[in-house]
Subunit: 326 residues, 2 copies
């Protein structure tokens, strides 16, 4: 009897903790938060008319500007330039063009004036010629040493805490979470499992060329020159179809590069959720949208709400921004 | 007391059933079967020095000739020719070259003499120009109607029952099973979940080009002309790295097209398993290896055993061949 009463009391306490636990503590108590929770509870409740089986509860997230920062430049570009400078210091012979010289000098105007061709030249030098695992060790070392110029935080501490909580909440409710990003898969996979709890197989991104060779008797997958696939705009639905092979029911992005993905996801049958993170917080983060070179957001603001998309107002909806908030 | 005794008896019965249940009933009691079970039990036993955490228990399987038949021609090619004839009957104007005419006439010598270029021409006509889901409905209709010329079975009943059991056994022991095939992903995904219990996201294969467009207001992923990626030989490790992002510990194939994949998988640290299905059974299936146009197996036989690979002797090791055995 004593044991039964004690167990009963424990059960009540455990239940109360479950009932009280807030899945999204870094989200303010706004309509945004209410809409997210209402959707998730609805589709994961077997008694609901909108119930979606767990196998179909697939959620896709852009990375740059949606799950972590992207200002003043994509963090992978900052990595590439840091690595280029390190490589040039060790071996100046890698400076074979004015583009590379500009990149080494930090002359961003010249570099960006070179367009995609210039960026691919930098990526080829900094992201190829070594085995995938060695490259990822270099990324991890950079993440442990480099600091963001404005926040002073390690870049992998500049993940958005509300979004990290949303990812975990979705998984707790039976969703499978994916990243679908313009960033390189090998770069992202160096930190995404630790930062977001997403395994490598659920990271979809742009692809550098790779080769398979037996090098000194060791079978090796090596990063090579060239881009095999750019995962942006209309190719995001293409990449999801190629890799996952079914249409997700939840998509989150922040820029017009995510428009096609969110459009495709929310156009499917049954309950759907589209989310755009709007960078409205010039104090705690950066405020930008229609006129930004990075993360330009125009179509999502103009057409998203009519399609039922949720526009997250970072300044209003987020109680906290970075995971590594000081 | 009565209840407790009854429950005890039920528990004993249940335990006995678990202990007796044979995970591989279609495998003969040979060394092959013993080696498979010993490996799986070893890596999934937390008390073993060779224990591998479930997250790393990844197994990859070729499809054609490993999980289902591939004679007298790849089943996807038979599908393409059947569909081409159907299309040509409805609209003869699709016959725009001697290659297409030869394919419609069943003149395989002329078709195969055209090499890869001829095959791509046939694939472009039969595999493009329609949404992915419509294409997959066509594949499913074909699977329900078409019959293999020698066995008279539907093609999706020509899966190898011992391999279907092996896939299930591995999953029961915490493995994640993938297909890594030269076949097209969209073609395979029309039947692989039902046939093998493998979800679409774990099907890796060759990729036709696809486009994303809004057609009459409907966001659609459409199969287009051209091949984006051929998943064969050295590109199998490349595809695994791209999609899964980690090296599996178990690989099974049947031809030299799988050599690189099995080589890469078995060269990793820790316990590894490489398997080659050797088509030795000219009575129940087909006997072929070194001199075959389809599924040529030479390097695997010559070099595999020295690398510890298991060569499965279909005639000796399999009690049953096809799932749809009459």
């Amino acid at each position: 009897m004593f044991i039964s009463r004690t167990l009963g009391a424990l059960a009540v306490i455990a239940f109360a903790q479950i009932a009280i636990a807030d899945p999204l503590p870094s989200w303010n108590d706004t309509d945004t938060r209410t809409r997210i929770i209402a959707f998730v509870e609805d589709v994961s409740d077997p008694a609901s008319g909108n119930f979606v089986p767990a196998a179909d509860r697939i959620a896709v997230f852009d990375n740059d500007g949606t799950l972590w920062g992207e200002q003043p430049a994509y963090f992978q570009l900052i990595f590439a330039l840091d690595r280029l400078r390190e490589m040039a210091a060790a071996d100046p012979s890698i400076i074979t063009s004015t583009t590379v010289q500009a990149a080494v000098d930090g002359d961003m105007n010249t570099l960006l004036a070179g367009g995609e061709k210039a960026l691919i030249e930098i990526v080829n030098i900094t992201h190829s010629g070594l085995p995938v695992d060695e490259f990822q060790n270099i990324v991890r070392r950079w993440l442990s040493e480099a600091r963001h110029p404005e926040t002073g935080l390690p870049y992998d501490q500049m993940t958005y805490q509300p979004m990290v909580e949303l990812l975990r909440y979705l998984r707790d409710e039976g969703f499978t979470t994916y990243i679908v990003s313009g960033g390189g898969v090998h770069f992202m996979r160096a930190f995404t499992e630790k930062a977001y709890g997403i395994p490598t197989r659920q990271i979809i991104g742009s692809l550098g060329e790779t080769t398979y060779d037996v090098i000194d008797g060791v079978p090796t997958v090596t990063k090579a020159d060239g881009i095999a696939f750019i995962d942006d705009k209309d190719t995001k639905p293409v990449a999801i179809d190629r890799t996952i092979g079914q249409r997700p029911i939840f998509a989150a992005g922040n820029s017009d590069g995510d428009f096609a993905m969110v459009q495709w996801v929310t156009a499917g049958d049954g309950p759907r959720f589209g989310m755009i993170v709007h960078h409205t917080d010039g104090v705690r983060e950066f405020a930008y949208d229609r006129d930004s070179h990075i993360g330009k957001l125009e179509k999502g603001l103009d057409e998203g709400p009519d399609m039922g998309w949720l526009i997250v107002d970072m300044a209003k909806d987020w109680a906290r921004v970075y995971t590594g908030q000081r």
